[in-house]
Symmetry: C2
DNA sequence: AAGTGGTCTAGACCACATC
DNA sequence: ATGTGGTCTAGACCACTTC
């Protein structure tokens, strides 16, 4: 049982795509496609390298990237196995816009506020800018099927990117940042819950006191600058946070 | 500015600890300790390898592990830099017990139920066992400073581990699993919110209708078996989910 | 004993960023 | 032009698992 699988693999040495990446893509496709079934052994690295005309470190690099993704498990003395299902996607720094779009919900956005305001102490601390200095304030209502789903309030340091209201209504903030050449690196998030204030209830078509799901997030680029601070509230009957996470070995 | 830092590094070749790991630990300690300041360049890999008497791939392996942790950033043509602060810990598969202990809260646990029950359709689907088959049901109340903080309801396939009630009260479920030789691999989580039912409110010393933070989780070991399914409710005034996440490059 | 992944070496050439 | 990380090779020995 769980036999070693012989797979049709090949690499194109004239391609600019790294060899290890070509291999890892083919393996990932084979796993997704079901050619490599859960529990099956991949065959040892040396033989795999010989078959492909690659060196063992290159093959290892390909396999390692899939181990990091949670698709494969290596066991010394045993071999490399395909993980038994259930792994879909690891936790990503996703935007609500992307989440909704992936779920086929075709999200709509209504920009409520798009202005420059002085930073309060809370905002200044989160973004690492002087208190009272100018920051962009963007307040949006996210809708799906015409129903309000979330209220998003974001603060962005000035001069980072153009915050065009029309663009904010047709795409997500993260996409605009990436398009502006900002390399997102990490984020610190807090997820909680609380009762809706009357204003919040009104915005989200809920009743005052109804439970709301809350998320605060500070996002950093790869230079360590804070590029965004957000305070979001979600209707828990319409949205919840769902994700896969991997145990760091 | 941002000058290259000369660091005192050394490796012990007689140690059983891998060389790359010795190096990455020393670099991590230097970053944590402030010897390597945010933004500072690490010095090129070849020179670093020569200085330590290591090969370049070994040095790269050490650096890569810290890049994966979000502590370092590599830029082709530029060098390797220490990320500007703010990275504390990536998202881990943590238990509430560990979280509370890390916060110095000295958690207490009260086991409400520890029994074997037939699996409902929901439980069977989550754990991948036949409907109606035996599963352990563990229901616990987690307290901090004598105040209830969360209600935890877990289902565990039979014969995975000894579920001693006394042990459940003094440690966390994940610790017991690891101690039983189970290698945790991944988990699928959903975080949401809802209003407390009268029973839930009573358990957590809240009022009926009060907002509760909810979490459902299925955890898998490295063979792909589901090892635990849990349905948890938290008092949002006492607990929220806080974590750092890294953008996959 | 045999087979596996884990670690390590000493080179090489290339792509990209900066000056 | 120079220096950096990104990729790749062809070996080697070791630790662990399984039989």
């Amino acid at each position: 049982m769980d036999p070693t699988v012989t797979l049709e693999l090949s690499v194109d040495r004239s391609s600019p795509v790294p060899l290890y990446f070509q291999l890892s893509q083919q393996l990932e496709a084979a796993i997704e496609h079901g050619t490599l079934t859960p529990g099956s052994l991949l065959g040892n690295e040396i033989e795999l390298a010989a078959r492909l005309g690659l060196s063992r470190p290159t093959v290892r690099q390909a396999i390692q990237s899939l181990v990091d993704k949670g698709l494969l498990v290596r066991r010394r003395g045993v071999g490399t196995q395909v993980v038994h299902s259930q792994v879909k996607r690891p936790l990503e720094l996703s935007s609500l816009y992307d989440d909704l779009e992936a779920a086929g919900q075709r999200p709509a956005t209504k920009v409520l506020v798009n202005a420059v305001v002085p930073a309060t102490a809370e905002i200044a601390a989160a973004l690492g800018v002087p208190e009272g200095s100018d920051v962009h304030r963007v307040e949006r209502l996210r809708l799906a099927h015409g129903e309000p789903m979330a209220h998003l309030c974001n603060f962005i340091p000035p001069a980072l990117l153009d915050l065009d209201t029309a663009q904010l209504e047709t795409t997500g903030l993260y996409r605009m940042m990436r398009a502006a050449g900002i390399t997102l690196h990490s984020a610190r998030q807090t997820i909680g819950a609380r009762a809706a204030t009357p204003e919040e209830a009104d915005r989200l078509a809920e009743e005052a006191g109804a439970p709301l799901l809350t998320m605060q997030r500070v996002t950093f680029d790869d230079t360590g600058r804070a590029v965004e601070y957000g305070t979001h509230t979600y209707r828990p009957t319409r949205y919840s946070f769902e994700f896969q996470l991997l145990v760091r070995p």
